[in-house]
Symmetry: C2
Subunit: 339 residues, 2 copies
Amino acid sequence: MSDVATLAGVSHQTVSRVLNDHPNVRPGTKERVLAAIEELGYRRNRAARALVTSQSSTIGILTVGNANFGPASTVLAVESAARAQGYFVSVSSLEAFDAVAARTALGHLVDQGIDGIVVVAPLVEVARVVEEAGLQVPAVIVAANPDAAATDTLRYVCTDQRRAARDATEHLLGLGHRRIAHVSGEMAWIDALERNAAWRAAMEERGLEATEYAAGGWAAANGYRMGRRIADEIVAGDGPTAIFAANDYIAIGLLRAFWERDLRVPEDVSVVGVDDLQDSAYFIPGLTTIRQPFTAMGQAAMRALLGIAAGQPRSEGRFDAVLEPELIVRDSTAPPPAG
Amino acid sequence: MSDVATLAGVSHQTVSRVLNDHPNVRPGTKERVLAAIEELGYRRNRAARALVTSQSSTIGILTVGNANFGPASTVLAVESAARAQGYFVSVSSLEAFDAVAARTALGHLVDQGIDGIVVVAPLVEVARVVEEAGLQVPAVIVAANPDAAATDTLRYVCTDQRRAARDATEHLLGLGHRRIAHVSGEMAWIDALERNAAWRAAMEERGLEATEYAAGGWAAANGYRMGRRIADEIVAGDGPTAIFAANDYIAIGLLRAFWERDLRVPEDVSVVGVDDLQDSAYFIPGLTTIRQPFTAMGQAAMRALLGIAAGQPRSEGRFDAVLEPELIVRDSTAPPPAG
DNA sequence: TCCGCTCTTGTTAGCGCTAACATTCTGAGT
DNA sequence: ACTCAGAATGTTAGCGCTAACAAGAGCGGA
């Protein structure tokens, strides 16, 4: 920086002023400084800047370190929103899903001197750890946590998973289905719990029996395993006529299992998923599913984070933003078979 | 830090020594310092440390900002490998694929004072920009770039995409197919180019005609569109008996198009993809595909990066590491129909 | 012409840490 | 007891930057 100052014939402080867009710099001087910066290819040292301003313009993202569609898409969206706001993004993914790992990762992030944290924490346990960590930095948890309790430095943002499940269930109900089963995901995940609860509520509201098949995981393999069981029941005549799968991977496993048993979708059984994967429209048949507004979520998360930093009072509800999912109707749902 | 020093009754420098595992500290002193750190909940300021050591223990990842399976998996793998080595990870994703955006993102990363960059740059243009940027920091490009030219600070690491395509093609050839078409991906991508070239080479080696269908993109929709065209040709009797799809998304589009035309896979036509998506095994039929060793790639990238930093001479070949993909045979490939 | 104001620029200090050097302590050898 | 090497600890300086204050320059009004 002092080289630049020398070349421009000013003091280093004036250079700093130019860099920080300080108002009281004569245009001519500014130009000379800018020229010197250009000539020397000078780049300001962020570490020094962070040291003196105690601001890193970096936000941390804590997430689960696998390629699950939901979290991955959310991370991408947050990242993009952060960059749009001029923030850098430091990602820390959890390999193991336990509290210790979450605490460690959180510590790492904080150690980095980030300005805020966005936690993409679909897991019940991770969310809890973050809440209890008593973070000093602004934090936003992206999760439809029913126990969400915003504080002055902690906010929540989510997509309404209950709405997703209700929309799916009611789409099926509207088609005339009454025996609507649910193949649930991994129950350590908030999303799994919420979708399950809302489907169950929608069924019970109408006095319908709610049969749950616990797949125990989000993968196609889990759906496939349940699909074989369900196929047996359908063939035996006492199975469901429609299934709400906790996500599209499970749904594709279901589709596959039914296909193997010559059960036609949607003629013999309807299937709805959640997520709308890149290729869900090209499954056989094209999958009716619930799409989540990931981009909007990312933006909402950043807005909430910046809001905390700016000292904005938290919104009244428990969530700072609740985004609505969207039902995408394709070919895997139809009225139930006659009789 | 001085608080800790006071509480432990030592100088701040001794605290620093304890923190940095300096050998010449009496065990008793060390313990007292550690206790003081614990009591005060002290965390060392990374910005100050970075300033004085000019080391941030952060590596930057430059990638394309979409959810494409390959890049996303690679990023995840690099991230995990970096963390295992005690590095933080700062991600910068390109929204647009152009040179300007790539240069800007690179600049951002460098400005952050990172210790190294891993570029997950499947795009021809991005790789070129990085090469020409004349980066001062160690950089590793993860791409099967045929023009790879390692330098003292720039290394290449890749999965052998030609091998992937050759394995796929030869699997089909071994099954007896002779009319093996290729549905190519987005040609701005190195992977697309490489897979295309290797398939073509394998065909031409045997004097077979190589018919290419340019899907123009990686999505299922692209595959579907080409699939309809190919289906027409197969029905007309002059289509291919097997197809090598540039990735699994394209393959699923193909599968879907064939299913719509009542063409059976693999009886009427075989399909091979590349990637092995989470649910590829559950496609209808289960997709034969090429799996890439992402985890190993991430580790290789970090190893290469650390190698540069440690002043290790670059390896003799143009690539620092070339990893081998793996053919996963499932149900979408079989011998060609008789006649 | 001179005062007093504002605009512009320079000077100084210090963010929290580590490297380098300075000092003190310890204990084996005489 | 006394020396001296080497271990343990302390002191000082400075990384590159910004904030706070200081000083100089320019200008209108009396």
